[in-house]
Symmetry: D3
Subunit: 251 residues, 6 copies
């Protein structure tokens, strides 16, 4: 059996969330899921990208980057190749979309929140870990704004978190570490709200195709993982998540 005694197939790795990890960012979270460590910083900028100018609407955008030695062999920096690789692009677009879907951008107003996810150590699941951690950093940044100048409608509507599932040696596993991931026949990332609704479903037959039944089993397992991660987020935020999911109207 693959994972040995140490972890069950439907069990996520130990999660550790450190808020206020750095002192300058409006939201700063170091999230560790097993040996995967991602620093998620949220920065507020008092302007919006050109396509939103004058629309009284905000924006959330994400950048993702792996430090050169976050991986087993050293990864050359993007700037040395003058190119961002495609995987990085995909991931940062995914993080941005996931967060925007749970935020009322009108309520946020003409601001951009930049989410920087820098991977310190990569042991599988960096994109899902980045989403889970960035959400906390986003809440902290939004609350900072809220304290200075309360929103009429609190802009965060839902918790959002993410988890991976996959098929490794014909077993369906939750929250794959790097070794498992590199052997996976099918690999899936799910982004979900605390109400159990999907924001993103991405499943790939890396080496072989998979049936509808298998898809359903993967979705069932992912849901278990999402619940565990949402729980961790709530534990970490405690009272600071008070306004989320209140329907948004504050009085």
């Amino acid at each position: 059996m693959l994972r040995g005694q140490s972890r069950k197939k439907d069990q996520v790795r130990p999660v550790k969330i450190t808020r206020n990890y750095t002192k300058y960012a409006e939201g700063s979270v170091l999230i560790e899921v097993g040996d995967t460590k991602v620093l998620c910083n949220a920065s507020i900028e008092e302007k919006v990208p050109p396509f939103l100018k004058g629309k009284s609407e905000g924006w959330i955008t994400a950048e993702y980057n792996m430090l050169p030695r976050s991986t087993q062999t050293r990864k050359v920096r993007d700037i040395s190749k003058l190119k961002i690789d495609g995987r990085t692009m995909e991931i940062q677009r995914l993080i941005g979309r996931a967060l925007r879907t749970v935020v009322d951008l009108k309520a946020l107003g003409e601001k951009t929140i930049w989410i920087d996810c820098d991977v310190i150590q990569a042991d599988g699941g960096t994109r899902t870990t980045a989403i889970t951690g960035s959400f906390i950093a986003l809440v902290d940044a939004v609350n900072k704004l809220h304290k200075e100048n309360p929103f009429k409608i609190y802009p965060i509507r839902n918790f959002v978190t993410a988890i991976s599932v996959g098929i490794v040696d014909d077993e369906i596993l939750l929250d794959l570490c790097y070794e498992e991931d590199s052997k996976a026949m099918v690999d899936m990332n799910i982004v979900m709200t605390d109400e159990g609704e999907y924001i993103e479903v991405q499943g790939t037959g890396e080496q072989k195709s998979f049936s509808r039944n298998t898809l359903n089993e993967l979705l069932d397992l992912a849901e278990k993982g999402i619940k565990q991660m949402i729980h961790m987020q709530k534990e970490s935020l405690k009272m600071d998540s008070l306004w989320i999911g209140t329907g948004g109207v504050i009085d």
Copy 2:
């Protein structure tokens, strides 16, 4: 009702596949799905990327590009910005993965097949159209190799095709055109084999999250579309698809 009389919710747009569209490429297909037109060229190169050197294995890689005026307003060329945009990167990675999954790369041998998808006119569904057309170009290129020097094991194991589904004005629609796509709350692309197995499932709540039930309805509808597209591919290839799905062993 959204589509008027002209097309049912579960109906794909008219498909036209022109093989041998250009004279130099080993496989060359102009595929039209409604007003979306993509030129898919397959080129054979007698070497493999560095990471495969000496492994007696082949590779398939794809590049996707929109011509500047394939879109409603002119799109600046990548080279003018010195950057490939993230969407393009995502799509070309998707096309490459989809084709590789149905090909036995060992059987292909030390060759690279380059798939170039250049969008002549974009009216929604360019990525799924590109996959559907590229598969035909790939078959033509592989058959050309096969005629010159027959493979021991024919490298293409399955048909692969793709289709989009989405939720527009609370209706679940198959094969979205641009206007529908730009209003979609949920957008999903499915890549599937002729045996009804998934290669890729990508669903995004562009503006709102969606339930498991909705996901299931989307998957059901996509399957209908996939069947129509597989049928079109078979019609186009006719006897030239003889070797696909024979289990691969040729005698």
Copy 3:
């Protein structure tokens, strides 16, 4: 004898011009000269480059690109090398200059017309073909503006077209195909108006120098080709070329 029976030394290849080839561009022409196929799209933008701001003058600029498999062996995309090659630059500058010379930019007003020439298949003479096709696309785009809001002075003053001539195996040939071009000792491109005046004369001794007499013979032959191409343009545009060459004043 080089060309066999199929084509005389002073004969251009068969020309096919398809207008309105794509649906979004204000002018869209697929031009085929022999096996050379170029898609020429004209796009109108309601602003001018910085150096023309506030001068009540318009601008016409061209971009030229070969699709990766328009050529016998696959050509790497510019964006993969982060560089536009010099030949491409030369050609797009030539196309822009040629069109601007026959247009009254003051009469056009503060607009930019972007000409995109994308080579679908390259069998020699892509730059001259691009000029000939782009002119038609330009006329269609200008007429579209004219229908919406008539110009006081119609901005197109002349037809412009282009052709190549060259010396191959000591024979002077008109409209070289790729095979001829690659063996040419001298290669010349002529851009001319329908009044028989030169806009551009570019002759290169690729492998050896040439005398004034040879230059004169090349110029004589080019003139023949230009007449044939102007004829094709007039056939294609018919009544839509009504305004060209009227002296420009419309009443």
Copy 4:
């Protein structure tokens, strides 16, 4: 008085060195000097740059990068501008030179050691902090090589460390924090060995020139700081620094 009670003019900020901070790098140090935090990873690569091929000599090279929100306002990533800024270039060249000077590259043999300094939080002195931390990471990486396959001559000859001094409001201060640094009239960085010899002296009159006397006072103060930093390095490495400074011959 500028620093208040909290720190004397000739006192360095509290230093914390965490070895083995990440699990993949051959040497991995998180160094904190006051609120400045730099992750220094050393990676071993079994080849040398082209200019050293076949010379039986090794190489040490450094890259330095600030995370986007290591600073008070968010810093755009290099890759977004397609350029490394000059300051970053200067610093990474300085770190590489400093480490190479204390290493016997012949003794190291045909290997490259990559030093990656990623600034997590920047509160002044990031370049000197990076040198001090990188040295520890280098020792750990070299010792790892030494354990697997003992060097005949241990390649590290000396400790190397660095500190800043400067003139702020007419006072000469040791180890400037960001606020002090941004007001400094003169700014100096000193790189020194444990034997009190200079490797690098860089003094800049940011806003005004300075006399030879002032230079001497700055050099005196820097020496005090260097001693404190060398002490911290020795405390951190303890027995693992056993071979350094033994004259290099091991028996």
Copy 5:
């Protein structure tokens, strides 16, 4: 009358050629034509570009660059824009072609000669000046090779030089300075051998088209200028041009 008394319409500006201008280049020429000053260095490299490997043939390639303040207003460096502009590309391709046409590349053998033309001061005609000066630098570099190790066939077959002509205020002028060039309706550059044969003919109707008669007048005038420039080259090279045009066989 445009040029005043100082220069006749068919007169070139004063030419000054300084050989051995810098000490490292195998050929180094500072050429001044009026106020236009171009430094032309020829460098020998003992290898050829990839497309010539193993063909026992040499190559000549040119790079052209304007120093930032060679022009009236400061020109931003290419590296600051990460792009070579199209004009520069055209010119450096032209210089390379011109020189290659008079050289027997087989006789040269597997070497590349790099021609670097850096414009110190630009007052019109920089491209023709660069060709004229580069030819001298090329001869010096080839002679240097010849002295060390005599060629069986001396590789330079002809002198090559270049001049501009143009129509300014309806007058046909030779060798345009910047002020004249910026007002020219028609602009032409001619590259010619000492035997009066064309290597390149480039005429552009910058603002209006021109007739065959005008073309002939321009060509006549250019020939006069070419003769003056060839004379200057011969004066400068004197005995060092001994082998050029001897038919190439040396005994």
Copy 6:
């Protein structure tokens, strides 16, 4: 003995300063120090970089570049690599800082002075030569402004010049040529005012560390060289340096 009879250890190479070397730049100096030749052009631009907008303050910035064959073997142009190398960046930052330190940027007013240092021939000491020559070009440019529209406070407060010193074969030498520099164990560049105050001190133990005593000897020798260079600058500028060092107030 290293330098032979030709030059003493404490002697700078012959210096030649040619003012008004090119005709467009507001200040243009060709400076030759031994065989090192650098063209230093100063250009005035009537605007400031974004970070200074609206602060009624000017800016001075420098760019440094080596022509491809200024060096013994040809150096590839930056634009061919799409990267400025680190050494170039360091040097241009150094030149800018050095000049800004002796200029009252408030007195200069909202202008940028661009300093372009293009190395024609490199035989050691190009950065120090560039500083020495740029200062003259700067004075000429500032005087040109002053003649057109007198400053209330003349913006240049001091002369600034630079020189190198180093340890070669255990001897301390002034003003190293390339051959000496390439063998130097310690290399130092000093930037100083005519009042004997430091602007920049940069000493590097290229191959070994050095003691405080050695540092002092190097500083003593550098001071001698600085005096010789300041003398050369005064000789060159003569009456044009009248305003420098007058305390700046003009009446």
